[in-house]
Amino acid sequence: MASARLIIEQLCGCGITDVVTLPDNASKALLAGLAARADIRVVGVTREGEAWAVASGLWIGGRTPAVLIQNTGFLESGDALRGTAMRMRIPLLCLLTYRGYATLPATKERLASAPVDGRMLSRPEIDSCALLFEPTLQAWGMPYDFLHDDADVAKIPLTVEVARLCGHPAALLISRDTT
């Protein structure tokens, strides 16, 4: 598990000015920590597609926003991501919480880069959202890495740099609840 405090310290260090978000359980501690800060504005949205458009507008206006949403909302918001941040080449840091990560089957059955076997989407022991998540990120051409625990928090500035170099969003996948 990753410490919300450490994540927020890294966000501040990267000059993140705004976090555009729709909460979930994994981001609960992180959002509680952000709410106590005056130097990062939290912008809540009603649906994840809005997050990409609001963040894109913030960036065009000169800010340095990040998007914090769950993978379910990421899947729901695909066309908004395509038509705003990706199409506009906005270098966004995306913090995407990975619902169902622990339910993913062993590597032999599922490789992140392999096509999804449609029959697995109905298996009750597997979170189908998790199954589709990484293949979808790859389909979008969005670079990503994992934020499992405190040791991974240092990846935040690296991901910001990846986004800057790519000229489009790059993601860190938060696989466990923040604390």
């Binding site: 555009v20 009603t46 809005e50 458009a53 507008g57 065009i60 206006g61 000169g62 800010r63 080449r89």
Partner: protein, 197 residues
């Protein structure tokens, strides 16, 4: 009911240094009245996301007005944005809903609830500070300066006749200046333009 030109001509005269975000059937008609570097066409982009893009701009630039020329079909795609705008506490956003009751770009098919949806009531219910509805050109022209003054967020419902604006494209041969660059180039140009001030 007004024409789009009857809405845009008076607005262009009073917009000052406001950023204007257009989308769908407003993109080309607005360009007949303005060629400002502070105009941004949300074209070749994501449907229904001009208002939330404008919200981001308004939050980033609280010192200047941001005007969004949205359509009723586009607004219906993201009604939650009305709530998001108010909850964000933005004071400098003026959101037009050009209500032509159709998806004009795709051939004027009726939008769901055409003529029955009360966008002004939806905005009031979401908590918009000021809400206007205009259907007559002289009435609108007499109030448009007032609309832009004072604190928002402001929602303006403008009843307009359906036009015949077709699908939008971007490219060097487009007659409208702000459709010549790619969407990415436009976004980056606007950021640079705003950095000047």
């Amino acid at each position: 009911m007004m024409t789009k030109d009857e809405v845009f001509a008076p607005l262009a005269r009073v917009r000052g240094d406001a950023v204007v975000v257009t989308t769908m059937g407003a993109v080309r008609p607005w360009a007949r009245h303005s060629s400002s570097a502070l105009d941004f066409a949300s074209a070749d982009s994501a449907m229904g996301h001009a208002a939330d893009l404008a919200l981001g701009l308004a939050l980033a630039r609280p010192e200047r007005k941001v005007i969004c020329l949205n359509g009723d079909g586009s607004m219906l795609m993201s009604l939650g944005t009305l709530v998001t705008i108010v909850a964000a506490g933005v004071r400098n956003l003026v959101l037009f809903v050009l209500e032509n009751r159709t998806y004009e770009i795709t051939g004027n098919q009726p939008v769901p609830g055409a003529g029955a949806v009360d966008f002004a009531a939806l905005a009031r219910g979401a908590g918009f500070r000021r809400v206007y509805a205009f259907a007559e050109a002289n009435d609108y022209a007499g109030h448009v300066a007032e609309v832009l003054q004072g604190e928002g967020p402001v929602l303006v419902v403008a009843a307009v006749a359906p036009g015949d604006d077709g699908p939008l494209r971007r490219g060097a041969t487009e007659s409208e200046r702000y459709l010549r660059p790619s969407l990415a180039e436009s976004a980056h140009q606007m950021r640079r333009e705003l950095e000047k001030t």
